[in-house]
């Protein structure tokens, strides 16, 4: 078990003189066509979300910009004034669904990426502390992690949000509280392997302060598995946010995320007005599949068990 781990970690250091490990990773990554498609799709969707205000005809959060008379128009119809076409139809409030989708995507992505980043930093710090300190601190942090991971995320999230109340920042807070445990576990596992390495011992012998050993010497070597977890956690966070919003516990009604748009469409779906649910759903699906394809490929490349 230890032998392949050591060779795997030794490979990047040996080839560093010839090629940086990041470049090597990029080169290996594009070898898989499905992963490349995923990456391109993810980048395009992120760009669309960032530049949403410039490429949409209206701001779906501004009540003055849409007309309730245009509610539930099928895809391809013209708006009341005849100035632009609703390519994906309109929702129950008369919002242009295309604009609402891009703004929803913006919200879903920022919640997902934001919570994953905050949770990633917190979880990594706790994981490194647990691994480096050991003993009682370690078991305290890890028992907490075990307890948290023993319960399904949806259950914990539902209860937290029920008491915190609906708002975007509460959703992020809830997601962070759930997700940090995954990073902590991964960071600790990797840091325990690194702590036994000679370079850490050498750093200790040089009397380098503890925080410096952990942050400057160990952390960079713990990053690969954390990047994998991070990518997959972004997708998980987006799914969870969408699910919570669908159940009516997530974002407020005035700022629909993709999940809430789908929930709104659910009420009219049975009467055949499918587009309000279907198109935001397809957008959500595209984001999740793209991120997961990238994450899966990264796991293949960065997980020492797969490296030959």
């Amino acid at each position: 078990m230890t032998a392949p781990l050591q060779t795997a970690a030794a490979v990047p250091t040996l080839s560093a003189a010839v090629q940086s490990p990041w470049r090597r990773l990029a080169r290996d990554f594009v070898r898989s066509p499905t992963a490349l498609i995923g990456l391109v799709a993810a980048v395009l969707l992120v760009l669309a979300a960032i530049f949403a205000p410039f490429i949409t005809p209206q701001n779906p959060y501004d009540l003055l910009q849409f007309d309730v008379l245009d509610a539930r128009l099928p895809p391809g119809s013209l708006n009341g004034a005849g100035t632009h076409t609703y390519w994906f139809g309109t929702d129950g409030q008369g919002r242009d669904l295309y604009s609402a989708m891009l703004y929803g995507l913006r919200l879903s992505l920022s919640v997902g990426v934001g919570s994953a980043l905050i949770a990633g930093v917190l979880g990594t710090v706790f994981g490194l502390i647990a691994a480096y300190a050991g003993g009682r601190v370690d078991s305290l942090i890890m028992r907490l992690v075990d307890l948290l991971l023993a319960f399904p995320s949806i259950l914990v999230a539902m209860l937290l949000l029920a008491f915190l109340g609906k708002s975007v920042s509460n959703v992020v807070l809830t997601l962070v509280l759930i997700e940090w445990a995954y990073y902590a576990r991964t960071a600790r596992a990797q840091a325990l392997i690194e702590a036994r390495r000679e370079y850490v011992e050498a750093a200790r012998c040089l009397a380098i302060p503890h925080w410096r050993i952990v942050l400057v010497h160990m952390l960079p070597n713990c990053l690969p598995p954390l990047i994998v977890v991070g990518t997959l956690q972004v997708a998980r966070a987006i799914t969870l946010e969408a699910t919570l919003s669908f159940l009516g516990l997530g974002v407020p009604v005035t700022e629909p995320s993709l999940g809430l748009l789908i929930a709104n469409g659910y009420q009219t779906m049975l009467s055949g007005q499918y587009w309000i649910s279907v198109y935001p759903g397809l957008a959500l699906l595209a984001v999740l599949v793209a991120i997961n394809l990238v994450g899966d490929r990264l796991r293949e490349l960065l997980n020492p068990r797969f490296v030959k």
Partner: protein, 324 residues
């Protein structure tokens, strides 16, 4: 072994106790039940009397002890909304959820194991590669959206299957089951399919990974060299060894299936415990929330315990490690 078992049972009991403490303190930290229970037009004397009657003037640890004592007698309070004992409400709704979760898991095994076996035995086959990529899509699909699409295709467009409710049920051992009627089956198919989708992908990937790990091992080569037929090698030697980790994961997944049933139940209006907890959260019906949590925690902890014990019995290697 006995020492290990006793220690493990005590550990499980401790986790349950800890959870009741967290739930109890958490609920008390968040809001004051007096404001909900007592109207604003009640005078100070009556107010103090009611508070004393409910035991809310006691220190928190005393309240917790009396809560624990009545919990042990099966009394977890009365629902604010339905005005019946909360535990009774949960137990009434639980069979529907269990039925849904068990059906979904069985479906996941029936579909996932054969597909995973195929993908693991022939990893370079184009169909197997499609399955592996497909399983990523299966992981990515949000459950609630798949549920909506199932309703839209099979109920709205094709009109083959009902979109909501549990249908006719028949009684067995005093509990109503959908399994026993044809109408119940028709109602069960779509929700079970919806809930199982994620698990199918999981089982598929686990089986395929297990098979790929086991096929190159010596004992499989030996079985081949002995001249056993491919079917016997695959079923008797490869699949059997794959099943051990699979059983562990499925046992642990059962708990999360019950929790995620909340989503499926709310899409398909399935009258289970998940729908109940969602309604209770929206109505802030505290006794029901607490009872649900305690029932689910007990369920989880006992499942973990059973899986741990099973694992020890099934895998001689784990058993040996314990001895040494």
């Amino acid at each position: 072994m006995t020492v290990w078992l006793v220690r493990r049972v005590f550990q499980a009991a401790f986790v349950v106790l800890l959870m009741t403490l967290i739930v109890f303190v958490g609920l008390h930290a968040i809001g004051n039940p007096i404001d909900i229970l007592i109207g604003q037009d009640v005078d100070q004397v009556d107010r103090a009397r009611i508070i004393a009657q409910l035991g809310l003037d006691q220190p928190l640890w005393k309240q917790y002890v009396s809560f624990l004592l009545s919990a042990m007698h099966g009394d977890l309070g009365v629902s604010f909304v339905y005005n019946v004992p909360a535990i009774q409400l949960i137990l009434q709704r639980l069979p529907a959820t269990l039925e849904l979760a068990v059906s979904a898991l069985l479906l996941a095994l029936l579909v996932g194991v054969p597909l995973g076996l195929f993908a693991g035995l022939k990893p370079h086959n184009p169909l197997a590669r499609m399955l592996m990529t497909g399983s990523i899509v299966g992981f990515s699909l949000p459950t609630f959206w798949v549920g909506l699409m199932l309703i839209m295709i099979f109920s709205v467009k094709l009109g083959w299957l009902p979109s909501s409710g549990r249908g006719a049920t028949a009684s067995l051992f005093g509990v109503q089951w959908s399994w026993l009627t044809l109408d119940g089956w028709r109602h069960l198919i779509l929700p079970a399919l919806n809930l199982s989708l994620f698990k199918v992908s999981l089982v598929l990937r686990l089986t395929s990974a297990g098979v790929r790990e086991i096929v190159p091992q010596e004992h499989v080569k030996f079985a081949r060299a002995k001249g056993l037929s491919t079917t016997r090698v695959v079923l008797g030697h490869v699949l059997r060894n794959t099943l051990i980790p699979l059983i562990t994961v499925i046992g642990l997944e059962f708990g999360s299936t019950i929790a995620f049933a909340v989503v499926t139940e709310s899409v398909f209006s399935w009258p289970g415990a998940g729908k109940l907890i969602l309604d209770s959260i929206n109505a802030l019906d505290r006794p029901v929330i607490v009872s649900y949590l305690i029932v689910v925690v007990c369920l989880f902890v006992s499942l973990n315990l059973v899986v741990d014990v099973l694992y020890k019995f099934l895998d001689p290697r784990v058993r040996l490690e314990g001895v040494q």
